[in-house]
Symmetry: C2
Subunit: 349 residues, 2 copies
């Protein structure tokens, strides 16, 4: 008799469609758990807009300390129009990413022929963006003076360190090395943001010498958006800064079947804290609570979670279940739970 391995999950359903898609991701996780001899014990954390309205809290340190004790975090979506823009994003989502040192924000993109793409001729698209997650313009080192007066000045500071850039660049090279095409594209804007851009470029050039098999390419972020619509098949692994990564991964999702399919992992490769898995999409308050959201991105994120925990077979099972479901999509409308149930059934095997 084999022993059952137990993993602990901190679950943050969040706002808008977050709870609905998280429910489906958990269904699928339970299905693969049963099949692969593991269990997922979870604790739910009621963080997000409701909590903020009730208590003014976004993520108290004591709760963060609790969350930190888990093996991984599953997050739905964060943000609501009733809360001033930035409060939940900075106070909850980014606080998690930064405090738990999620320096690799992993965002794969694939075009499934059956789902289609807004592009007329996308070609075979299968790439992954390694977005830096703990530096850049996201550090929150800006400020404002004389707010609300005609003399107001507001700054945002992008902070980039050799330490922070090198570790994510190394991770991206290792991923490229493990992929058949062995190609890495650095995306930045080093002709304008010369200090940060040159640090990134020099780092990629230096690490490249250790990976002689990898073909290395550089694109300015503006040019990268062009290629993402004219020739997305050219990409294999993209490594980029926090803000450029935010922008190009939404675009990548859009060209490859939509934001309903885009998964992400906020990964701490050193495992000094739990990694966090979430769909790329937002909380979509306009369709919340109506069973209209596609839970596929959340489910695929749960697949990345399994992968990260070393449950490779479970990860493959989730991916295969999703792909099979996607291949049979006919365009007829299914509820969030119907999609989740269909994928769960397949994943359960």
């Amino acid at each position: 008799m084999s022993e059952t391995k137990n993993f602990t999950l901190a679950v943050v359903p969040g706002d808008g469609i977050g709870p609905e898609v998280t429910t489906e991701a958990l269904k699928v996780l339970d299905a693969v758990a049963a099949r692969h001899g593991v269990t997922f014990d979870r604790t739910e954390y009621g963080l997000g807009a409701k909590r903020w309205h009730a208590t003014g809290e976004t993520l108290p340190d004591a709760e963060l300390a609790e969350i930190r004790k888990h093996d991984a975090i599953l997050l739905g979506a964060v943000g609501d129009p009733s809360v001033p823009s930035g409060v939940l994003e900075r106070g909850l989502l980014l606080k998690l990413r930064f405090t738990l040192d999620h320096y690799v924000n992993l965002r794969p993109s694939k075009i499934y022929p059956s789902v289609g793409s807004p592009l007329a001729n996308p070609g075979t698209v299968d790439f992954v963006v390694v977005r830096e997650g703990t530096e850049g313009p996201y550090v929150g080192n800006g400020g404002a003076l004389r707010v609300g007066t005609p003399a107001e000045i507001a700054t945002e500071v992008s902070v980039n360190t050799a330490y922070g850039v090198e570790r994510v660049v190394r991770d991206a090279f290792a991923r490229a090395q493990a992929r058949p095409r062995k190609k890495l594209t650095l995306v930045h804007k080093n002709n304008v943001l010369v200090h940060a851009g040159h640090l990134w470029k020099r780092t990629v050039d230096a690490v490249a010498t250790e990976f002689p098999e990898i073909t290395v390419d550089y694109l300015h972020v503006d040019a990268a958006t062009i290629f993402l619509v004219t020739d997305p098949a050219r990409f294999d692994v993209i490594v980029t800064d926090n803000l450029f990564g935010d922008i190009i991964t939404d675009l990548a999702a859009a060209i490859s079947g939509g934001i309903g399919l885009a998964a992400s992992g906020n990964i701490n490769p050193d495992r000094t804290a739990p990694s966090m898995f979430e769909p790329v999409h937002g909380s979509a308050p306009d369709i919340a609570g109506q069973q209209k959201a596609d839970p596929t991105a959340a489910i695929l994120s749960a697949g990345l979670l399994c992968e990260h925990l070393g449950l490779t077979e479970a990860a493959r099972a989730i991916e295969a279940a999703v792909e099979a479901d996607i291949e049979e999509r006919t365009g007829s409308i299914r509820s969030t739970a119907e999609i989740g149930d269909a994928i769960t059934k397949r994943a359960a095997g």
Copy 2:
């Protein structure tokens, strides 16, 4: 007998395909000049990679003072791989934009049915991006410490002022007011870049009260890239910061027939210095000197130049000539000069 009005142009052909496309734009300008009773006297400035290699100069102040005396500037493209990235961009192109206070960087996008789009179903696309041109992360207020060591830190500072944001927002509202759909979309990232983002948002909300006919919309930059490929027809006037504007206008060009058609004006609406007109595309060194570049974007930029100088009929004639040429494009390859000649002939009437 009517008097001939004379305009002075500073011409900066620049690098790569810059000189080729500029030649065609000047042909077209001369053709409309003859027809509309004006002349364009021009002075060429040999700035760019060659000059930098020969003298180390990018844009000497004395030359900038000369350029400033003209009615307008026509620029081809700037940048070459033989020059460290950023030297010409910051030292020449951005120096011109910043010193001459080009705070409105105007970038129209239109899909011409005959040219096609990488999008399967783009719909009717006709919008204009008003990109701020003198602030944001482009100010060059970054720096680096301990360069080349493992302790390196590089920063980039985005500077945003009420003064700078309000003037470009006002310009964008006025443009929206003059357009039939009367819609303005602010693009920023105010859920993360809260200081700069809130300044932009508050400014748009305040100016909106003076333009009750305008429908105002807000999109995060990542969401904007999604809509640019899934529903670009929704946009009318977009107003955004310098970096976001750079990114989304390349994407906008890509979805609407390519970078070969995308024109831009770096405009000083207060007319305290000459405005500058240039294609959105770069210097494309890989195809330079081969008559392979499409000069249409440079020609349309010359059209924006006429518009800015009050030569409305000439501007219309250039636009009409380009549209007629585009409508008859068959996909057969023409040289840069052939395209320029064909448009010149039409513009000459």
